[in-house]
Amino acid sequence: MSPRGQLTAAAFAALSLACGDIASPRRADIYEWRLEVAATSGEGLDTVSFHWPAERLPVRIWVEQTDPLPADVAHAITVWRGEFLYGEYDATVVSDSSAADVIVTTGIQPDIGVSAVRLHSALAPQCAGATDINLSDDNTQLLLPIRIHIDPTSAPATPGLDECLALTITHELGHSLGIFRHSPNSSDLMYFNPSVPVPSERDRNTAEVIYHVPSTVEAVGP
């Protein structure tokens, strides 16, 4: 190759290096996350999709000071925050429950509001969890706070209880960030009876997509 040809080839090589884009992964493997509630007018169902808007971040979470809830909630926040690449989700623990967006308590509360939806999680035999999502009558507002209930159904020293609580809190926090349905796949954290302690790739894909589609409800609260 002549010197001129070599120079041209080098210039093309440099140009291609300087102009190429990174190839992003396909995020096609997701599951349905939208909540279906009775339509406010006529028959049929309304589909509810929600994510915390950037201006409301970090989400304020109040947690009952019963061990190991505070540590498990902090861990769950770290886990979910780490699933996002672009700062879509963040949360912090607050000390004032009246100013909280999400409240985490122990025990399953029997009474939920007429318009509330409870997402039960049939977890390991040592514990159970549920998340209450309260919508306005016209299904346009998410009335805060979201309430997460953690129920240690076994004695404190029961083997596997700590793992169950940690898994349950991470699962329920997944509901509070916008995954309003359960995954049909047993290998996902958001399966109704999960066995994995952290979000799967499918959980992550679903969470990422949620934060890049418009919400159908507006968070209204403290």
Binding site: A14, L17, A18, C19, G20, D21, I22, A23, S24, P25, R27, A54, R81, G82, F84, L85, Y86, G87, E208, V209, Y211, H212, V213
Partner: protein, 200 residues
Amino acid sequence: MPRLILLLALLLTGAAPRVRAQTEYYARVGVVGASNLLRDAIVERITVRQSIAPMVAAGGSVPIGTKGFRANAEATFASGKFHRNENGAKVDLGTLRTATLMLGLEGSLGLGLRWRGGLGVIQYWPSEHEGIFLSGGTTRFLAGGGIDYRHSAFANWDLMTSARYDFHRFRTGTLEDRGFSQAQAVSRISLSVGLSRRVR
């Protein structure tokens, strides 16, 4: 590559005493702007980009050979915000610091102008290990060049104005873990002014 750079740096500094009379040192301040660090698509197109950031640079050069070329080493440091853009909305992602070290050649263009070109590395230090930097910063190879203009100000001191262009391929460990392939080409341009000292 880091070993090669270290070797070149040692050679450069080792050569300095013998050519002390012709050594030049300089320091500059300016700004640096960069193209997108990342393009992604989750429903909508997302880009991540650094804001124009203040920068400091320092370096030196010594003559090599008999044709008027000089070997140079230059380090820069910049600190600024970075953000994501989606549908025209900009979301702050924190502070991102970058440092570069480049070794190269320079030569005269006349009228106080000099060209330069070189190779080196760029290091990214995010303020938080979050998002695309969840697994920490990253070090990438860097290539670039530029033009300096020097105007004699005082004895042995020159005012110096510099324009630089460099590019590298950006990727982080987190992006690799998440299934991103290849790397994002990032171009950077900087403008700076400063002082250069000739040691005679």
